[in-house]
């Protein structure tokens, strides 16, 4: 792109940005949008934190599909995995090794805490899963061989339950006479924790596989 075109492009974007900014300023911003409804239904949701309630109950279907997106990205990466050259990493860094040895256990605890605390305050499956995946990436950085065959196998097994448990819970609620993902009121809290727990594991394993691992699954062929 030549300089003139760049400037023209920048100018155009500036004009658009300015226009859009003025539009944003006209959004009323009054009222409570859905806040009052969320708050009104919060006691029925099984959790005390509003965001978690939206994420896993009111709009749990979005979260369900979000797990499908993760799975999809994994499948996609798997389809691309053949014949890619993994550049060998320079893993001989003492500081990193020391750091990782200290950090990984802490991160696991933090992840568990995040999952648990999600019911009351900010936190939850994704945050916990992301932290776990981070721990895994750190491990891979300093020791690519840590994913032994056995670890790989466990990792594979853990990819799917996030979606599957969510799905089974949804189906169970349909069999009990509700709609899909309509948890029975008195069990909502525990069901959400169950769903989140498996979701966290699957998120962690999936993210780690996507960013650090080499998705090469057995599956026979």
């Amino acid at each position: 792109m030549t300089g003139v075109v760049r400037w023209a492009f920048a100018g155009l974007l500036a004009v658009l940005a300015f226009g859009l900014a003025s539009v944003v300023l006209q959004i009323p911003g009054t009222g409570s949008a859905l806040r009052s409804q969320v708050m009104a239904q919060l006691p029925q949701s099984g959790v005390d934190h509003a965001v978690t309630a939206v994420l896993l109950n009111f709009r749990g279907y979005d979260t369900f599909l979000e797990l499908v997106v993760l799975l999809l990205a994994l499948f996609g990466a798997w389809g691309l995995s053949d014949s890619i050259d993994e550049a060998p990493l320079d893993t001989d860094i003492d500081v990193l090794t020391e750091l990782v040895a200290f950090l990984v256990p802490v991160l696991i605890v933090v992840a568990a805490y995040l999952l648990w605390v999600g019911a009351y305050s900010p936190g939850g499956a994704f945050q916990g899963g992301a932290v776990l995946a981070g721990a895994g990436v750190l491990l891979s950085l300093c020791d690519p061989g840590w994913r032994s065959r056995r670890v790989e196998r466990i990792g594979e097994v853990l990819l799917v339950p996030g979606v599957l448990v969510f799905l089974l819970v949804g189906l169970a609620s349909m069999l009990l006479g509700g709609q899909f993902l309509e948890y029975p009121r008195d069990m909502a809290g525990s069901l959400i924790l169950l769903v989140e727990g498996f979701a966290m594991l699957s998120i962690a394993v999936t993210l780690h596989t996507l960013f650090a691992g080499t998705p090469r699954f057995g599956g026979g062929a």
């Binding site: 226009g19 859009l20 003025s22 539009v23 944003v24 006209q26 959004i27 009323p28 911003g29 009222g31 409570s32 949008a33 859905l34 409804q37 969320v38 239904q41 109950n57 009111f58 709009r59 749990g60 279907y61 979005d62 599909l65 979000e66 499908v68 997106v69 799975l71 999809l72 990205a73 499948f75 996609g76 990466a77 798997w78 389809g79 691309l80 053949d82 014949s83 799917v160 979606v163 599957l164 799905l167 949804g170 189906l171 349909m174 069999l175 006479g177 509700g178 709609q179 899909f180 993902l181 309509e182 948890y183 699954f217 057995g218 599956g219 026979g220 062929a221």
Partner: protein
């Protein structure tokens, strides 16, 4: 909830292919058999939903039991059911073809992704929630990109990368529009948003953002730059799915937005999109005529055919349901015909090892079923009777003449002539002999029958036009506002 009514819940349309995808992912063998069975099951579920729709009218399913605006509603009316049926039919053809097309190694990657794509499209057609639509759009886009890239050749990878950047850009633009709407109305349910008062400037900006995002995904001229590469370099069944189904989802959402969320759009927008559509028809057709490779020709034909959907938009204000119905008819006809064409072109490629049109060698003798599929699909693409393409074009031509809209009528006719030129450019070379290059490889029978059946479907649609149009308006999808009769 009784057993039967439990089974015809729309949510099964999402769960079945999803579970199927996970299953073929975990399975060690028989992936194709399971995959085809799942897609056939999907068709049966759609048939059940259509049956229920005919009896009870449109209905919704509030996921989580909350209902909009707090929760997410799935909604099934004539329009969504029609799109689901189109997807189910075409998917079955593509699946049957794929079962024979892919080697065991490629099948491993193909089936999980393909079934997730089906999941995503089903979820999209059932959703009435603007944010949920964003998630399903991303699902569709990522699955489509992954399927394109799966082939692994250089061109496919580059095309997939360009496609990915484009589709993500489209999603971002769409989502920003959703953000504006949510904060103006306090809801992401289409009907509720449509009923809420929105400041005119906000509505205009939101529509512009969402429309640009969707047009990028639908590849309306001039946003088509990514399409020919991606659609021609992917493997044949994937090309078929991309051209027949994936590009339609963006248009479907745009259609819903147009009717439900932005009913007050002015004529200017309709004309702008109409002009772009007209240019797409002419430009895409001319490019198709200039192509030397069969798959590129078919891909540019998609650019042209997509144009028709937009070309007709200036007619909907006065034409209403009739014009929308004609557009949807064209959407379905194109889905059937284009899937057939891409798979048939894939057969040419698999058979001869190349798809250069000039060098095609006595195809009609050696692969008569493939030739027939190309011919019949071509009939619908050209808009010749009897075919779905003809019925749709006739109705649009009628509407444009009734409204005295000559420019649209002329583009419709000219587009048909240009389509005849490129379709016969391909067809005339399947009758003649060329220079055989290397020993041809036999093509499996199902790979010949699958496109032929879809092409026949495009012809049969011509005879079912009235039935389809009547079915389509169950639940009045082309009239804005809430409908309480479910």
């Amino acid at each position: 909830m009784s057993g039967v009514s439990l089974l015809v819940q729309p949510v099964w349309l999402i769960l079945l292919p999803l579970v199927g995808s996970i299953m073929v992912f975990l399975l060690a063998s028989r992936r194709a058999a399971v995959g085809v069975a799942v897609v056939a099951g999907n068709l049966a579920l759609v048939a059940g939903s259509i049956g229920r729709l005919g009896i009870t009218g449109p209905w919704q399913h509030s996921v989580g039991g909350w209902g909009a605006p707090l929760g997410i509603d799935l909604y099934l009316d004539g329009l969504s059911a029609t799109m689901l049926a189109m997807t189910a039919l075409v998917s079955l053809g593509i699946s049957a073809y794929s079962a024979a097309y892919f080697s065991a190694a490629a099948a491993r990657h193909f089936w999980p992704l393909w079934l997730l794509l089906l999941t995503a499209m089903n979820a999209l057609f059932l959703s009435r929630d603007l944010f949920n639509l964003y998630v399903t759009l991303e699902l569709v886009g990522i699955a489509a990109v992954a399927l394109t890239a799966m082939r692994g050749q250089r061109e496919a990878l580059v095309a997939a990368m360009r496609y990915l950047l484009t589709t993500l850009l489209g999603s971002m633009s769409y989502l920003l529009g959703v953000a504006l709407l949510y904060h103006s109305t306090g809801s992401v349910d289409m009907v509720l948003v449509g009923e809420a008062p929105i400041p005119a400037s906000v509505a205009a900006a939101a529509f512009a953002l969402m429309a640009v995002g969707l047009l990028l995904k639908t590849a309306l001229f001039p946003f088509h730059f990514w399409l020919p590469g991606a659609h021609s370099s992917a493997s044949a069944p994937v090309s078929a799915a991309l051209s027949a189904l994936v590009v339609k989802v963006g248009f479907y959402i745009l259609l819903r937005l147009w009717i439900e969320v932005f009913p007050a759009l002015g004529d200017g927008v309709a004309w702008l999109l109409g002009i772009l559509g007209g240019v797409a028809v002419l430009w895409g057709s001319l490019q198709a005529i200039l192509q030397q490779r069969a798959k590129m020709l078919v891909a540019y034909s998609t650019v042209a055919q997509l144009g028709y959907f937009f070309l007709a938009l200036p007619l909907v204000a006065a034409g209403g349901s009739r014009v929308w119905g004609a557009i949807v008819l064209l959407v379905i006809a194109h889905a059937l015909a284009k899937a057939a064409m891409f798979m048939a072109a894939g057969n040419l490629l698999a058979f001869a090892g190349h798809d250069r049109i000039r060098d095609l060698d006595r195809v009609v003798q050696r692969m008569p079923l493939t030739a027939a599929a190309l011919g019949l699909a071509g009939v619908s693409i050209m808009g010749l009777p009897p075919s779905g393409g003809f019925s749709g074009k006739w109705l649009l031509l009628q509407a444009s003449l009734e409204q005295g809209n000559w420019p649209i009528a002329l583009v419709l006719l000219l587009g048909g002539v240009l389509a005849a030129v490129y379709v016969f450019k391909l067809l005339e070379h399947i009758f003649t002999s060329g220079t055989p290059l290397g020993e041809p490889r036999a093509v499996a029978r199902t790979m010949e029958w699958a496109p032929l059946m879809l092409a026949i479907g495009a012809i049969v649609l011509g005879f079912l036009a009235t039935t389809t149009l009547d079915f389509l308006i169950i639940g009045e999808p082309f009239v804005p506002g809430r409908r309480d009769d479910y």
